[in-house]
């Protein structure tokens, strides 16, 4: 009897310590590192939202297409910024189409036709504690976007909403793009 009691108590004791651990999953609803949000407007009528047709967003080497931006029609672009560097570059291709390079069966040498504009996003970074499960997030301050002038830019103008512009959350647009 005494021995069973002893084991029972020991069991409760051990269970207690291990059942009280908190869940270590970061909830999706928790705001973590924000992405940059750009809205597209008509350059001639700057209050009107204007869709970008056949949009492709890739990295600077055009090796990887940003997930969700492979030939889409949208007036809203969400760009993830690098948390390891103080600049992030993207290639935004307007009116894009896939050029199969004369080999319709071979997808490996395909490339995008269309007007390619390179944008450089520059910023300073700050790491902020979120929670035990989510760890840290990076917020971006003094964010500026410059367009590389290639003589044939489809992006006419990119303007920040505020000056200086920071990217601290994803609740509102950070930049307006006119085209």
């Amino acid at each position: 009897m005494k021995k069973t009691n002893f084991l029972f108590i020991l069991l409760i004791l051990i269970l207690n310590y291990y059942s009280c651990e908190r869940d270590d999953l970061c909830p999706e609803s928790t705001p973590t590192t924000p992405s940059l949000i750009i809205d597209a407007f008509d350059i001639n009528n700057q209050d009107d939202s204007k869709n970008i047709f056949g949009l492709v967003v890739t990295d600077i080497n055009k090796e990887n297409v940003l997930l969700g931006y492979d030939l889409v029609t949208t007036a809203n672009i969400v760009l993830p910024l690098k948390t390891t560097e103080n600049t992030t570059q993207f290639v935004l291709i307007n009116d894009a189409s896939i050029n199969d390079n004369g080999t319709p069966d071979d997808a490996s040498d395909d490339f995008y036709d269309g007007n390619q504009d390179v944008i450089t996003i520059a910023y300073t970074r700050e790491e902020i504690y979120v929670s035990r499960a989510c760890g840290y997030k990076t917020i971006f301050k003094d964010v500026s976007i410059s367009i590389v002038d290639d003589g044939d830019n489809w992006i006419q103008l990119i303007q920040p909403i505020n000056n200086p512009q920071s990217v601290e959350d994803e609740t509102e647009t950070h930049f307006n793009l006119f085209h």
Partner: protein, 225 residues
């Protein structure tokens, strides 16, 4: 940074090994009236012990080390004033954080024994509360920035340790627990050479307590009933 006050409810069970030292100062010369019925003498007084659970966890859990001294003082038949003092160190390693938290705490409160002991049993099924206060520090060894978009692969990682000192917390615990007497009695007579531990100096009516058997709990009678 905002300070968060979290009210935490712990349901913890405490398990103690009980060794009792009966320190009798009864004067035998007073004639006692003998009755037919046997009266069970209840023990009142101060008990000091250690939390074996924390010692076991220290031994088996690489991420944890802790030590706690427990004391309670029997005030009424079912009522105890109880308190704990302890130190703990715990490291937390997740995909995004690597921290070590160190601190010491002091807890005080009341235990109420719900168990009706038979005869001379000295067990407890108790309910009670504690008010705790703690002073602690965090060491942030490293962290990775959390990003839901994996487009750029690796995120910023910091490996420069940072320290956050002088943190405090106050909380309330509600307790439901068991205390079982496992070994009945350990008597010390004059022949026992007690270099450290508990010693009673009969001449001067003094009690000495040192750290010989902290894993065991001693009961010293202070009040006679």
């Amino acid at each position: 940074m905002k300070q968060k006050h979290i009210l935490t409810y712990f349901i913890s069970s405490t398990f103690l090994l009980l060794f009792c030292v009966s320190v009798n100062a009864q004067n035998d010369s007073i004639a006692s009236t003998k009755n037919d019925s046997i009266k069970i003498k209840q023990k009142y007084g101060l008990r000091i012990g250690g939390d074996i659970g924390k010692l076991i966890r220290t031994a088996i859990d690489d991420d944890y080390s802790g030590f706690e001294i427990i004391a309670d003082y029997r005030l009424k038949k079912k009522l105890y004033i109880a308190g704990e003092i302890g130190i703990e160190e715990k490291s937390n390693v997740t995909d995004y954080l690597n921290t070590i938290t160190k601190g010491s705490y002091l807890k005080g409160g009341i235990d109420y024994n719900l168990y009706q002991n038979w005869l001379d049993m000295d067990n407890m099924i108790f309910s009670g509360f504690r008010v705790g206060a703690s002073s602690f520090s965090h060491t942030l060894n490293s962290f990775n920035v959390y990003h839901t978009n994996q487009c750029w692969g690796e995120q910023f990682a910091s490996t420069t340790p940072q320290e956050f000192n002088g943190l405090t917390a106050i909380w309330v615990e509600l307790i439901l627990g068991l205390k079982a007497e496992i070994l009945k009695e350990q008597t010390l007579d004059d022949n026992d050479e007690v270099l450290n531990g508990i010693a009673f100096d009969k001449k001067n009516n003094r009690i000495f307590v040192t750290g010989k058997h902290w894993s065991k709990l001693y009961e010293i009678e202070l009040i006679k009933k």
